[in-house]
């Protein structure tokens, strides 16, 4: 009996094992090698592409990386046997890095060569962390196979950049709604359009670009024709210090409320907000040490300073049990930038107070910054962190002109750890340090400042080091610097005016000169001129002239000039790089009382606003396919680039007039 029972159990066990194998095969049979194993092209998969060159497919530890250096339709395909009239779901996690143009990264059914049919999942553009993506489709009558594709680009919608895929699965789907029908062999023109926007919707999406121009015009009229022309009248309103403080507090709360409202409407820039939340959660869960080194994290190009802040926000949200998809989460990630705006306004107002501005004049300045559409847009709608960079730069520069060299060094290092763009101001800052050494103490302070700066960088980067070298952050900087090799990345400047938006830097700009050559020359020239500006400012003091004016405010002007010129004529620029210049120019106005700097700051804010709105819009998933590279996009690029270049040239003229050497020349001439 026991034997019989044993036999029965054995047979049952064998049956169970076999049937488990069969069930397991049932899923495996759909996709061969879904784990994407193998060197180079994963086994069982096949690479297809529109262009054969300038692309690569690599697999490593279950992650396959598709890279297109030129716009292409690159697919990793596999033909899968399927049942007719059956719904399936294709799932994978996708991460994208600098994916630009066309359809972007998708999961796709690529039956075009078989029956003219292709469909896509939701598309990912720009840079985005791992995102679960699925595509549910229904096979057609008599259809026995489909070509499954992990895809970068689309048919007639070519994309460039890097897309990574992992955790690929194909499984029969339930009978729920939402499956896109394939029509197996028959004409499928209608099916192919299933996921495309209707023509009316496309027209509407494109027309918004013209709306942005109108908004920028309204912005310009209100700021310049309204506030700037009425500045004296507004500044002459009598306010007590206490009322001023109360009004500023009200303004700060209103600014915060406005940003929270906007963040709940737009939910931030989809790519950037996805990154912030994903990164914050990763750091909160896994700690910072593997943040830059984990598989698929190689492209994380932000310096570690702000990553630490993201980790803290994520922890706080976790502690409060707030879901990552809640609206409040988005605002929480935007909060540091919003607070930085308020702090910047406070810094501007404080310094204005010290420089003899009236209470109402200070308040006007603070509000012009706090409620400037360019500033509100960035921290309230987009959710980017240039506001924080601006604050640290401003604080650093102010400390420096106040003679607090070490503090300035520390603050500058923090700025660098927030965003690499702070390094652009490095030469200007270094020059100021050197030109203002008047004593041994200054020299020692300078050395201490440099040491403190490096110390801060080391300290901030240490938790993120993991198994990397001690100075890993230097390597990170160089790897991120080469990220976008375009003349302009939605930065509407002179290069974009010449057709350089999303154009490779090695392309010809004017016969014989590439964008790279022109841009590099302009960057060098910009830095040189800004250094000369500082030299002119202190020339009198250096030459020991009695009564030579203290033109330390020139630090702000030269830094603004340096960044503004590099933004206008340099390559690799992104739309927001010029953002801190607004605050620098406002500070120049505060320190000198010369209204032309305020005017220039307001003019710049208008072009920055138009640039920001357009850049955010054309990169968004909804609008990208319909508007990028179209007539309306070109119009905004042309209008904004022209205005930006014109504003810079006007600014350059004002700078030339402001130089003491020139002023002296004028006086002699007179």
């Amino acid at each position: 009996m026991k034997r019989a029972l044993k036999r029965i159990l054995c047979v049952f066990a064998v049956f169970l094992i076999l049937s488990a194998g069969v069930f397991a095969r049932a899923e495996d049979m759909l996709l061969t090698n879904p784990a994407l194993e193998g060197e180079g092209v994963p086994d069982g998969w096949e690479v297809r592409s529109y262009l054969k060159d300038a692309c690569s497919v690599e697999s490593d530890r279950g992650i396959v990386t598709l890279i297109s250096y030129e716009p292409n339709d690159l697919r990793l395909c596999q033909t899968v046997a399927v049942e007719e009239n059956t719904a399936y779901t294709l799932f994978a996690e996708i991460s994208v890095q600098n994916v630009m143009g066309g359809r972007g990264a998708t999961l796709s059914i690529d039956n075009y060569s078989v029956d003219g049919c292709y469909i896509y999942s939701r598309n990912l553009l720009g840079s985005m962390d791992w995102t679960g993506t699925e595509l549910t489709f229904r096979t057609g009558e008599g259809q026995t196979s489909v070509v499954v594709a992990l895809r970068l680009g689309g048919y007639s919608e070519l994309s460039a950049g890097t897309a990574r895929f992992r955790s690929v699965r194909l499984a029969p789907a339930g009978e729920g709604a939402g499956a896109v029908s394939l029509s197996g062999g028959s004409s499928s023109a209608e099916d192919r359009k299933t996921d495309e926007l209707s023509e009316a919707e496309k027209i509407r999406l494109r027309s918004y670009l013209h709306l942005f121009i109108v908004l920028a015009v309204v912005d310009a009229v209100i700021l310049i024709f309204g506030f700037y022309r009425s500045r004296e009248r507004i500044s002459s309103a009598e306010l007590t210090a206490q009322t001023g403080r109360r009004l500023f507090l009200t303004a700060a709360l209103a600014a915060l409320a406005l940003r929270s409202l906007l963040s709940s409407i737009w939910m931030g820039h989809d790519t950037d907000m996805g990154c912030w939340i994903g990164w914050g959660n990763y750091i909160a869960q896994n700690g910072p040490s593997t943040f830059y080194t984990a598989p698929g994290h190689e492209w994380y190009d932000y310096p570690p300073g702000y990553m630490a802040v993201l980790g803290l926000i994520a922890r706080a949200l976790n502690a409060l049990k707030i879901s990552p998809t809640a609206k409040i989460t988005v605002f929480a990630y935007m909060l540091p930038a919003a607070l930085a705006d308020i702090a910047t306004a406070a810094v501007l107002m404080r310094r204005a107070g010290r420089n003899g501005f009236s209470e109402s004049g200070r308040l006007l300045l603070g509000c012009l910054y706090l409620f400037n559409p360019a500033v509100v847009m960035l921290s309230g709608v987009w959710g980017q962190i240039d506001s924080i960079l601006t604050l640290f730069l401003l604080l650093s520069f102010l400390s420096l002109i106040d003679g607090k060299r070490v503090r300035a060094g520390v603050l500058y290092a923090l700025a660098v750890m927030i965003k690499w763009q702070a390094l652009i101001y490095g030469p200007v800052l270094a020059c100021f340090y050197i030109l203002h050494i008047r004593s041994k103490k200054d020299l020692l302070d300078t050395a201490a400042a440099v040491a403190a700066a490096f110390g801060v960088i080391l300290l901030v980067s240490l938790p993120f080091r993991g198994n990397q070298s001690l100075f890993w952050v230097v390597g990170k900087f160089f790897s991120s610097a080469g990220g976008y090799r375009y003349a302009s990345v939605e930065a509407y400047n002179f290069l974009a005016l010449c057709g350089g938006n999303w154009t490779g830097v090695d392309n010809t700009m004017i016969p014989g000169v590439s964008y790279a050559v022109f841009g590099t020359a302009a960057i060098l020239l910009g830095v040189t001129i800004s250094l000369c500006m500082q030299f002119f400012a202190v020339r009198g003091q250096l030459m020991g002239e009695k009564g030579a004016p203290d033109d330390s405010w020139m630090l702000f002007l030269s830094a603004a000039f340096c960044m503004y010129m590099i933004f206008t004529f340099g390559q690799y620029m992104h739309e927001r790089y010029v953002f801190p210049v607004m605050a620098l120019l406002m500070m120049a106005y505060i320190l000198t009382g010369k209204e032309k700097w305020l005017l220039e700051a307001l003019m710049l804010s208008v072009t920055v606003f138009l640039n920001e709105v357009t850049a955010m819009y054309v990169i968004s998933n909804l609008a990208a396919a319909a508007v990028r590279g179209g007539r309306e996009h070109s119009t905004v690029v042309a209008v904004c680039s022209f205005a930006e270049t014109a504003c810079f040239l006007y600014f350059a003229r004002l700078c030339a007039d402001a130089l003491p050497a020139f002023r002296k020349g004028e006086a002699e001439h007179a």
Binding site: I203, R204, H210, G226, T635
Partner: protein, 586 residues
């Protein structure tokens, strides 16, 4: 010269100098707009063929026939053209072919051609046959039937163009004007009929010819200038500013293109301008407490203009809402200012009388005008069914049925159009409406409707600046009449423009046409304000006008149909900021 234009008078009434300048501008513009408007050499005699009707054409001897050129009438049908050897060409007459010259390719060698209607109804004003070189062959009709086909061969143009045929929506509006005159079934019913009746006036005088159907719109376009001049004088109280506004309007490309085509927008804009002119007059008279008999004159005229505008296009109603705002704001302002006692009683008395008057002139008379404007519809229905008497009740039924159709057409319109644009795109004219284009390898002739950037972009910014100036309290020191002027203009702009923010059907740049004159006036008002506060030199306005004139002349080929080398058209399209004028064909 400029000194003469800058008269020191600050009266809102026109003096001799004002009138001379106004009529001079109008005369110059009228001549300019009538040149090249449309041909007067156009076939008038029609042949109408129904199934079975046939005409034999004799070419004199056997010849190679490569092309069939025809100028169609209002007909839909099919016809066979048969050659001597029995070879056949099947011809279809379709919508859009009417009153313009078209060509069908043939490949016959024959002496006789038999034209035979096989279905529907084919209508020709004139036809011709050409050999492979394009030379028109001498031909005659055999027998009595169809002589109208070949009786006006001198009207054959060298080349079909806008000048000698219908273009864009003329195939609806000008066609309907013809139908009104001939008591035919009305084709275009999506707008009230008055505009088409006015087009029909020109057709009645000059015949169904391009010049005939375009002359009345063109004259209304010219007549807008003195209206705008007078309105400008009332608002600005300065001759130079009134002249500037009307001259800028004359130099606007949309005004030019939109008034040289036989569509109905020109009429509604003209009547809207009249409405606001009369309402302005009434407001000033009322403010001066003029006797009601005097104040009611412009108020009544305003009501009539409102009726005429609404009977031309429903957008007149939007403008009417603005009039109501101005009227009631003024009325309640008066009552509020009158305080208590006798003065208040008097104010209330005046108000009630005025309201009673308005009920007649803004409700009853416009309703009567609207009702009467449908006379062609009643006439057609009466002719179609002579047995049933055309009672008032039946007329009312026809009217109501038309209104229902019209409303459901506009509210259910979901089609998209390559030239459509949203309301926020209009002030800076991002997308022109493409009326006509004809090109060969080296030249192009084009008509698009778009705003002149030198005029309208500047004035759009000027309007924004004026609002900002008002909000920042920088107009406090300005004279009262300027504040009133700005209020009138802003209300007019809001009334004509803001309703479009709620319209969901596809919209076009020319929907901005009724708003545009007020935007121009607002731009000039701001300049006047800045000039009088010493912020802007007096010369600026003349520099602006000169610049606008140059810009207008440069853009003229894109809005007038003048044939220019393609290289110049490319210059316009790619180097002059103005909008998508050639829609990518060059």
């Amino acid at each position: 010269m400029l000194e003469r234009i800058s008269s020191p008078s600050r009266s809102r009434k026109l003096d001799r100098g004002d009138r001379a300048l106004m009529w001079l501008l109008t005369a110059v513009y009228t001549i300019f707009t009538l040149v090249n408007l449309g041909t007067l050499r156009f076939p008038q005699n029609q042949w109408r063929g129904e199934p079975g009707a046939s005409v034999t054409i004799d070419l004199g001897e056997e010849k190679e026939v490569a092309a069939f050129r025809y100028n169609g009438g209002i007909g839909l049908g099919e016809m066979m053209i048969t050659a001597d050897d029995g070879s056949v060409f099947d011809f279809s007459q379709v919508y859009g072919d009417m009153f313009s010259w078209r060509v069908s390719r043939l490949g016959f060698t024959t002496r006789y051609l038999l034209l035979e209607c096989v279905s529907g109804e084919v209508v020709f004003n004139e036809i011709a046959f050409a050999d492979p070189e394009g030379t028109v062959l001498k031909a005659s009709v055999v027998g009595e039937e169809g002589t109208a086909l070949l009786d006006e061969q001198d009207t054959l143009p060298k080349k079909p163009s806008y000048f000698n045929g219908m273009y864009f929506d003329e195939i609806y509006h000008a066609r309907t004007a013809y139908e009104f005159l001939h008591t035919m079934s009305v084709y275009e019913w999506t707008h009230p009929p008055l505009g088409k009746e006015l087009i029909a006036l020109g057709v009645a005088v000059f015949g169904m010819k391009p010049f005939g159907w375009r002359v009345v719109p063109a004259l209304f376009g010219a007549a807008m200038l003195p209206v705008l001049f007078i309105l400008g004088k009332r608002l600005f109280r300065r001759r130079d500013c009134a002249f500037l506004a009307s001259a800028l309007f004359a130099l606007d490309t949309m005004h030019f293109a939109q008034t040289r085509i036989a569509t109905v927008d020109v009429f509604v804009v003209f009547f809207i301008l009249l409405m606001y002119l009369f309402m302005t007059d009434y407001l000033y008279l009322d403010a001066e407490k003029a006797p009601l008999s005097k104040a009611f004159l412009p108020l009544g005229a305003c009501g009539i203009a409102f009726g005429l505008g609404t009977a031309s296009k429903w957008t007149g109603l939007y403008a009417g809402a603005g009039l109501a705002v101005l009227f009631f704001a003024n009325l309640f302002g008066d009552i509020a200012r009158s305080g208590k006692g006798e003065e208040s009683r008097r104010a209330w008395g005046r108000a009630w009388k005025t309201i009673a008057f308005c009920c007649v002139f803004f409700l009853l008379i416009p309703a009567a005008i609207y009702f009467l404007s449908y006379i062609p519809f009643y006439r057609y229905e009466a002719a179609a069914d002579p047995g049933t008497p055309m009672t008032f009740r039946r007329m009312l039924d026809i009217l109501v049925r038309q209104q229902e159709s019209m409303y459901s057409y506009h509210s259910a319109l979901t089609a998209t159009h390559s030239s459509q644009s949203a309301w926020y795109e209009w002030p800076f004219g991002a997308m022109s409406v493409w009326f006509y284009c004809s090109s060969n390898e080296s030249t192009v002739s084009n008509i698009s409707t778009f705003v002149n950037p030198a005029v309208c972009w500047v004035c759009a910014v000027g309007t924004l600046c004026a609002v900002t100036e008002l909000l920042f309290g920088k107009m406090k020191k300005d004279p009262d009449y300027r504040k009133t002027a700005l209020t009138i203009l802003l209300v007019a702009i809001a009334a004509n423009y803001l309703p479009w923010t709620l319209v969901t059907r596809c919209t076009f740049q020319y929907h901005y046409f009724p708003t545009m004159p007020f935007v121009i006036l607002c731009g000039v008002l701001l300049l006047q304000h800045l000039e009088e506060s010493g912020e802007v030199s007096a010369r600026v306005k003349w520099i602006w006008l000169a610049f606008s004139a140059v810009y207008f002349l440069l853009l003229l080929p894109a809005c007038s149909g003048i044939t220019v080398p393609k290289v110049f058209a490319r210059f316009i399209e790619h180097f002059l900021p103005a909008g998508n004028l050639y829609h990518g064909v060059i």
